[in-house]
């Protein structure tokens, strides 16, 4: 092997006469690739192919059948499952609407709130570092734990929220939270933001700390107010962070499955049913073909919403 390499190097040497040629020659990989290297990614590739790619392709096949998961016989029913989901199944359309509402609520609230927290904690003072650690903390808990904590906060009879409101004489504001069908989803959105805002705050802090201080000094000398500085320096500079936060939050809130099951029980009531919990219920009901169709709609929804956000926000990194 070593002689091989040396020969390859020597062969490259003559055409590397000029400086640019030398650099180019080096980039064209002087060492011959050892074929054994192809063995290294093999286990990962095999696992992904067999347990991720293949099942996903199979989902498309199941989606056009009426298979119940157990019987050997099933029929191909074309796009019936998709038609059924959108036109005949109010439970599904309800879950879809809930899910889109939930994503919208969480994305707006979490992006804004995590940016506010980040702006307030950019400086690396002792207090800031301590608070960052505290605000980040909920992220490491399991969704089921977070769901239980908030189930207690929202409990209409014994809950923390009503206890606090009662304690400060604001009985009028006490509510039944999750018991109120019109509000339930918003309260779960609050929980989701509590769960993950700290994580997104850290992404924003990294973005904010990369902004050169001189820009603000210059803006101040030009007499720009705080809001103007935010609008023309901070916001454009954190655009890449915003697109990460928005995209990640979208996927995260589409997958709020664990949180919903923990806070609302299994299966959740209609006002809290989202796509992932609906797919699970359909699956648990042994409608495998229909569940597969729903999961393909689910995947398409995530892709569509993510794509739409990119289009609408046009968040491209500064200078690109």
């Amino acid at each position: 092997m070593s002689t091989h390499t040396k020969m390859a190097d020597e062969r490259k040497a003559p055409d590397g006469g000029t400086e640019t040629g030398a650099a180019k020659g080096r980039r064209r990989s002087p060492t011959r690739v050892n074929p054994a290297l192809y063995l290294f990614p093999l286990p990962a590739v095999a696992i992904i192919a067999f347990f991720l790619v293949m099942p996903t392709l199979q989902a498309f096949q199941y989606a056009i059948t009426d298979w119940n998961g157990f019987s050997a016989a099933f029929n191909y029913v074309g796009l019936d499952n998709f038609v059924r989901a959108f036109t005949k199944d109010s439970l599904f359309t309800n879950a879809l609407t809930n899910n889109l509402k939930f994503v919208l609520l969480v994305v707006i609230a979490q992006t804004a709130f995590s940016l506010v927290l980040a702006l307030l904690l950019t400086k690396n003072s002792r207090g800031s570092i301590l608070l960052r650690a505290l605000f980040f903390f909920p992220t490491i808990l399991s969704s089921v734990s977070v769901a239980f904590i908030w189930k207690f906060i929202y409990d209409p009879n014994f809950g923390l929220a009503n206890a606090v409101l009662g304690g400060v004489g604001l009985e009028a504001l006490q509510g039944s939270y999750l018991g109120n069908n019109a509000q339930a989803l918003s309260w779960v959105a609050v929980t989701q933001v509590w769960f993950h805002a700290g994580q997104m705050m850290v992404v924003y802090i990294a973005g904010l700390q990369a902004i050169p201080r001189e820009l603000y000094e210059a803006a101040e000398m030009d007499g720009a107010g705080k809001w103007q500085q935010f609008k023309s320096i901070t916001w454009p500079f954190v655009a890449p962070a915003t697109s990460i936060v928005v995209a990640y939050t979208t996927v995260q809130s589409f997958k709020a499955f664990d949180l919903i099951l923990g806070i609302a029980g299994n299966p959740p009531k209609q006002s809290l049913d989202i796509l992932s919990t609906r797919i699970y219920s359909t699956f648990a009901n042994s409608e495998f073909g229909y569940a597969a169709a729903q999961s393909i709609i689910f995947m398409a929804m995530i892709a569509l919403v993510t794509w739409l956000q990119r289009r609408l926000l046009r968040l491209t990194p500064k200078g690109e």
């Binding site: 192809y38 990614p41 696992i47 608070l131 980040f136």
Partner: protein, 271 residues
């Protein structure tokens, strides 16, 4: 002045919103239901571990704790090993092959677990992996391998390839180079990915919910979830469960807090 006042107000209120519920859960785990409802903020009258005893003894939480430890202790290193092998190869196989392998592995990040849970369930059924810890390990590995490859592969690509060239001139084979050069130099990203995976695998709920049938094979989040059904409003018991389920991650967080932030945001900003 006003600005600094409102800054303090926002931060202070949010700190309270995080600390108070956690404190109430901590205190509550030692209380009786009546005691909790009488005064959620008060200190517990005694530090009697009765709730913990009931949770561990009566509800299979003991065995589910062991199951969670086993599943996580295998899933995390296995994912890291497979991902680092792939990442290493990708960093050395420049050109089309490296790109194609990377693309293939990383594409999986776009597939949400719910999208292929039906076929995966069927496949696991055929392979006899349902209701087994081995099945959970495999599901964990599959679901996090793409992002682990993304983090590790991304990092390994930035390692100067002169190091590889030097070692191959010295006659070192790819395996030795992987073990003694690529892996040690990637320690920071391996550590970040390890923490990221630890949190995900420890807290994983969907796969146990799908695949596990017998109570003896439950992992902690699943055992916790089944609590909720059985003890609707026995919050002290739920709280004891929450504390037990969170303990390992919380203890690790207290000591390795900075690395947690780096690890989980590596997942966030690259996911």
């Amino acid at each position: 002045m006003l600005a600094s006042l409102s800054r303090r107000a926002i931060l202070g209120i949010y700190a309270v919103i995080i600390i108070v519920p956690l404190t109430v859960v901590g205190f509550g785990s030692f209380k009786s239901t009546q005691e909790l409802f009488a005064g959620p903020f008060s200190l517990p009258q005694s530090l009697s571990p009765a709730n913990y005893a009931e949770v561990i003894g009566g509800q299979d939480l003991g065995s589910s704790f062991t199951n969670s430890v086993i599943v996580t202790a295998i899933s995390v290193p296995l994912t890291l090993f497979l991902a680092s092998l792939a990442g290493y190869a990708i960093s050395r196989l420049k050109g089309f092959m490296g790109w194609a392998i990377f693309g293939f592995l990383v594409l999986g990040m776009a597939i949400p677990a719910q999208a292929n849970m039906v076929p995966l369930y069927v496949l696991f059924g055929r392979l006899g992996l349902l209701d087994s810890l081995a099945g959970l390990v495999l599901a964990n590995v599959v679901s996090t391998l793409p992002i682990a490859v993304f983090i590790l592969g991304g990092f390994m690509r930035t390692l100067p390839k002169e190091l590889y060239e030097a070692s191959s001139i010295d006659g070192t084979g790819p395996w030795r180079t992987y073990v003694s050069i690529a892996l040690p130099l990637s320690a920071p990203s391996v550590a970040a990915a390890a923490i990221f995976l630890f949190v995900i695998h420890w807290n994983e709920l969907l796969y146990p919910l799908l695949f596990i049938q017998s109570p003896g094979n439950r992992t902690l989040p699943l055992a916790l979830l089944s609590f909720q059904g059985e003890f609707q409003t026995n919050y002290p018991l739920l709280f004891a469960g929450v504390i037990l389920a969170s303990l390992p991650v919380v203890v690790a967080y207290v000591f390795l807090q900075r690395y947690f932030v780096a690890g989980i945001t590596a997942g966030a900003s690259k996911g």
